[in-house]
């Protein structure tokens, strides 16, 4: 008799037309083509199975085999991945990519093992920008303003460093809170600002590129170790190709969405002069020091080196 194919349930929280959604579909297509009968991928978009907060737990229970939450979601599983939240560590996506592909970056994928998870690869969303109801040119402009953040100690410290007020609010409530001006601003990538229509309710967007918002494609250690090495290698290869495909779309989308936002004239995009940018860096860089013990000074240094 023929053994039943290995089932991979890929659960994510966004629509199918996003880079992450496209990456998942691509992965399924490649697997269908090359590993037909051996592996079967089922993609569940739009939080159909689980939300981002519970998907990792479901994975540990063995009910989901793959997911791609944002890197900030892992702070309770490993402190090391907090490195990607540090402000002004990477100057652009090229530097991010370079670090992720470096030996240190790849070693980080294994940092979740103790908690039963295995990182399989990084997937891009893009560099984060600051949007607000008032123009933000220098750190003093952000002082006293309320910014929505994802749950992340680093992001909290980042806004506290410029004397702003970080507020944790569920993503689903952000639009309403921005629209009613109950909160003043938020940080996000071009594609999120565009797809969630934040630009319609935030008259100013500062092109700060102050941080990165990336995802980690992850699986459970139990599942992964249970596969034979040949199959593991083939799945990883398929995934790497799918991620490459997804990252290509993400890069295209970031610049296209930025252009759409500018063309809409709903929001003014502010560019920072070198002097202004230096002020932000000076204000926010102490955050690195604060998390140095948790992340590791060497690792931060290695990441910084990827800018050159």
């Amino acid at each position: 008799a023929v053994a039943a194919p290995v089932e991979i349930k890929f659960s994510h929280v966004v629509a199918e037309n996003t880079p992450k959604g496209q990456m998942a579909i691509k992965f399924k297509e490649i697997v269908d083509e090359r590993l037909a009968g051996k592996v079967e991928v089922k993609v569940f978009p739009n939080s159909q199975l689980f939300g981002d907060n519970k998907v990792l737990e479901a994975m540990l229970l063995g009910d989901v085999q793959m997911a791609a939450p944002s890197l900030s979601k892992f702070q309770k599983y490993t402190k090391k991945l907090q490195i990607f939240d540090l402000p002004f560590l990477f100057k652009d996506m090229e530097a991010v990519e370079k670090f992720q592909n470096s030996e240190d970056g790849q070693k980080l994928l294994g940092s979740l093992q103790k908690k039963g998870l295995v990182g399989l690869g990084y997937l891009h969303n893009g560099m984060k920008q600051l949007s607000a109801s008032q123009p933000l040119k220098v750190p003093a402009d952000a002082s006293g303003k309320k910014f929505r953040i994802m749950t992340s100690d680093v992001l909290q410290a980042q806004f506290e460093a410029v004397e702003a007020v970080p507020l944790k609010k569920p993503f689903s409530e952000v639009f309403t809170l921005l629209q009613t001006k109950a909160i003043d601003g938020q940080e996000n990538t071009w594609s999120n600002i565009y797809s969630k229509k934040f630009f319609e309710v935030q008259p100013y967007i500062t092109e700060s590129n102050h941080g990165v918002l990336d995802y980690l494609v992850v699986t459970s250690a139990e599942f992964w170790m249970g596969l034979d090495d040949g199959l593991k290698a083939e799945i990883k290869k398929a995934l790497d190709e799918a991620i490459k495909h997804g990252n290509g779309i993400a890069a295209q989308k970031a610049s296209a969405d930025k252009q759409q936002i500018i063309d809409s004239k709903r929001s003014e995009v502010l560019e920072l002069t070198d002097a202004e940018r230096a002020q932000w860096v000076t204000a926010m860089k102490p955050v690195w020091k604060k998390f140095e013990d948790q992340i590791g000074a060497d690792l931060i240094k290695a990441a910084e080196a990827s800018n050159n």
Binding site: E57, L60, L61, Q75, K76, Y77, K115, G116, G144, K146, T151, Q156, V165, P166, L167, K168, K169, P170, A182, I183
Partner: protein
């Protein structure tokens, strides 16, 4: 005596959960609007209180008949048939609880083994999550009690909450106050003008 004390404790705890949730969210609004500040752990704690409120409250709801259901059909049956059907229904409720208790136990053990903390507080996640197991154990106890009552013919159905009945309390209260005091307000004004 003991039964009374247990009820009092259950009621106090349930009310406390609701009030704390309300005040926590209220405090967040005041902090943000009045003091331009945030309470960074408020959201997580509010949501966990909500989980406790629901999962703890469900069993209390069985005891006092606060759940709702469709009982127009079973009430048409002869008394003993009604009792029999209710026993079947209670049995199915116990199946439900059993399945969830089993699932919750595995989930909880796994979380305890992995040992992850809450996002905003330095508390192991499995501790607040233990309400899953506690809640279903309590629910089983309450359904067993109900089943016993049906067997011994002290009850024949689930005794569902009746919004109409509860609203009638309001009507009774109004009638009583209208009779007891000579009000300066509403009822009397209507009466006066009606009289002439």
């Amino acid at each position: 005596m003991v039964r009374n004390l247990v009820t009092k404790l259950e009621e106090a705890f349930l009310s406390l959960l609701l009030v704390s949730m309300t005040l926590l969210v209220f405090a967040e609004v005041v902090a943000r609007f009045g003091f331009n500040a945030g309470i960074h752990w408020a959201q997580e704690v509010t949501l966990l209180l909500a989980a406790w409120f629901v999962l703890f409250g469900a069993s209390y709801g069985v005891k006092v008949g606060a759940h709702i259901g469709v009982d127009v059909f079973v009430k048409l049956m002869p008394h003993n048939t009604h009792r029999f059907i209710t026993l079947v229904a209670v049995g199915l409720c116990l199946v439900y609880c059993g399945l969830f208790l089993y699932g919750s136990w595995i989930y909880l053990s796994k979380m305890k083994m992995i040992g992850i903390e809450l996002e905003d507080l330095p508390v192991p996640k499995w501790i607040p999550m233990s309400i899953l197991v506690i809640g279903f154990v309590l629910l089983i106890v309450r359904f067993l009690q109900l089943g016993w009552k049906v067997v011994t013919d002290q009850a024949d159905g689930f005794h569902f909450a009746d919004e109409a009945e509860e609203s009638m309390e309001l009507a009774k209260e109004l009638e009583e106050t209208a009779l007891a005091t000579e009000p300066k307000e509403g009822a009397n004004q209507v009466k006066k003008e009606g009289d002439k």
